[in-house]
């Protein structure tokens, strides 16, 4: 078997809990991720699904090492990056890119689109042929070249998210974290962005972790799914297996709670009384 791109064992992350911060002194730590084990096979798209508080975004941030885990290990291409200090991490960053949920806040309002896409290129020794590379990045996500000189506020939501994708893929990374990248968009735009990501992931052989609360979107895009709840993995399996034959009650509840766009008079009926 081929070695997975990511191999995660016993991953724990604890963050300061600001709601319990005393007036003086530090906030106590709260364990957000409580020991996760999983692999991300090279070239696969993995959906990470869960409700608020499940820890799915924290998991994403730990994978690209915006957070340092408190226990366990993260191996990227066989190399342990769990506690790599920032300076040693920097050469790895090129392969660990991220697309953000809110395309508004992920683009600096005072920089042109060209300058936003150029930043990671310059920082990673790809500052030559900059114009060409920016043009290529824009072309890849289907944006006209004239957008290079524009600012974020001159773009629509969908166009902003395209810029976010262009920036993340400009370095031809091995891994991309997509954190709820369509949840702020209208359905019609959502479909465009997902089709784009689907196409690019296949073309570039990307490994993608696709964080979402929407199981419908995940089924379309992902080859395997990790269902999370309260910092633990509830169920992880190949997509079709999970949807056709969910093993855990929680997964079934999640699926049953999705309002599909079709008439179903029974959907809102109170659930049959649970046996006492």
């Amino acid at each position: 078997m081929v070695e997975p791109l990511f191999s995660v064992r016993g991953l724990k992350v604890a963050l300061p809990d600001m709601t319990r911060k005393p007036v003086i002194g530090r906030a106590p730590l709260a364990e957000i991720l409580k020991g996760l084990d999983f692999d991300l096979p090279s070239g696969s798209v993995t959906g990470i699904v869960g409700e608020s508080g499940s820890g799915k975004s924290t998991l994403g941030r730990a994978l690209v090492r915006l957070l340092e885990p408190s226990a366990g290990s993260i191996r990227f291409e066989g190399r342990d990056i769990t506690h790599l200090p920032e300076a040693q991490l920097r050469p790895q960053r090129r392969d660990l890119q991220m697309i953000f949920q809110d395309p508004m806040s992920s683009l600096n309002p005072r920089r042109t689109i060209a300058s936003i896409i150029a930043a990671p290129l310059k920082q990673n020794g790809l500052g030559d042929r900059l114009k060409e590379r920016i043009a290529e990045a824009l072309h890849r996500v289907g944006l006209p070249q004239s957008f290079a000189s524009r600012y974020r506020h001159e773009l629509s939501g969908g166009q902003r998210q395209r810029v976010g994708i262009a920036r993340a893929l400009a370095l031809s990374p091995k891994f991309v974290l997509a954190d709820e990248i369509v949840s702020g968009l209208d359905v019609s735009t959502q479909a465009q962005i997902l089709t784009l990501l689907e196409k690019l992931a296949a073309e570039m052989g990307l490994t993608v972790a696709f964080i979402s609360h929407d199981l419908s979107v995940i089924r379309r895009l992902c080859q395997q799914v990790i269902v999370m709840r309260e910092g633990r993995i509830v169920e992880a399996s190949a997509t079709d297996a999970l949807f056709d034959n969910p093993k855990e009650t929680y997964t079934r509840d999640l699926l049953a709670a999705i309002p599909l766009p079709e008439i179903d008079a029974d959907w809102l009926r109170p659930a049959t009384k649970a046996p006492a």
């Binding site: 359905v187 929407d214 419908s216 089924r219 379309r220 709670a257 309002p259 766009p261």
Partner: protein, 292 residues
């Protein structure tokens, strides 16, 4: 039977003359749920605000009328209008956190409306609120009434707001994306609650949402909006059985369905958007002619 809410040819403009509502007509019968569905900028929230009389000051209604249980809102004096709207309508807002004052306890915030607008006594209001909290399945009303908003979960806060909305027995409730901020499992519970209370109290609801899935589950009638224009209106069952307008069809095809992943999430066709743009332009042209 007269409609609970009847909107005829409602047009509203921004200061620069751009129309944000384009001759909107719709009605909500007593005890009926009408969904207003559309993407951002469709004007669905604007209609809800117009009904409640809380449009932003930059938006001006230039034409059309709104009748609440037969009373023409445009013909009333501002004060009479406020009283009428206050007594017969209520709002279930999108964000349950910002809709509640963070520095006041839940109890007084819930009874306020009953005491101030309807002139109820404190005790009567309190009894009523407790009754409603029971209806929204809040089992420990004492704790909830004494809590501050941040001490409750998102789902609990939305329950509180639903209870408050139904407490004064309004004839019409405007629900503005009431479940958008919630997780799916909580959304289902909340939708179920709204449907139940709506049936029991016979309240009419104008249900604003962007989610066709929610439309299918909660409403009997639906108006599909685009750029402030009603592009299609139908019985919900009929709409899902056979959507007529190309935009409605495109919207349905774009909505993800895990049961059918490869027939959903279809990007909207350029020709559909071009057709919509032409339709809007023609409507504006026709509207401008008599208005010079």
């Amino acid at each position: 039977m007269s409609a609970c809410l009847d909107i005829r040819d409602l047009s509203a403009v921004l200061p620069n003359g751009q129309r944000v509502l384009r001759s909107v007509s719709l009605s909500v019968q007593p005890g009926e749920v009408r969904a207003l569905v559309g993407e951002s900028g469709a004007g669905k929230t604007m209609i809800g605000k117009a009904v409640l009389g809380v449009l932003p000051s930059s938006v001006r209604i230039v034409e059309g009328n709104m009748k609440l249980e037969g009373e023409d809102l445009g013909k009333l004096q501002p004060k009479a209008r406020r009283t009428l709207i206050g007594a017969r309508t209520a709002l279930i807002p999108q964000d349950p956190l910002t809709a509640l004052n963070p520095s006041r306890r839940i109890g007084p915030q819930m009874t306020d409306r009953l005491v101030r607008i309807l002139g109820w006594g404190g005790e009567k209001a309190d009894t009523r609120i407790r009754q409603l909290l029971d209806e929204v399945q809040i089992r420990d009303p004492d704790r909830v009434l004494k809590s501050y908003p941040h001490e409750l979960s998102g789902g609990m806060r939305q329950r509180v707001l639903i209870a408050a909305a139904f407490a004064a027995e309004p004839r019409l409730i405007v629900a503005d994306e009431p479940t958008t901020a919630l997780d799916v499992t909580v959304q289902k519970q909340i939708l179920r609650l709204i449907a139940e209370l709506q049936r029991e109290h016979g309240t009419a609801i104008l249900f604003v949402t962007h989610d066709l899935g929610v439309v299918a589950k909660i409403s009997q009638k639906v108006s599909v909006l685009y750029a402030g224009k009603v592009v299609e209106e139908a019985d919900t069952a009929a709409l899902f059985a056979a959507p007529e307008h190309p935009y409605t069809r495109a919207l349905m095809a774009a909505t993800p369905r895990y049961t059918d992943p490869f027939a959903s999430l279809m990007p909207v066709d350029e020709t559909v958007l071009a057709g919509l743009a032409a339709e809007i332009a023609a409507a504006d042209q026709a509207w401008r002619r008599p208005h010079g």
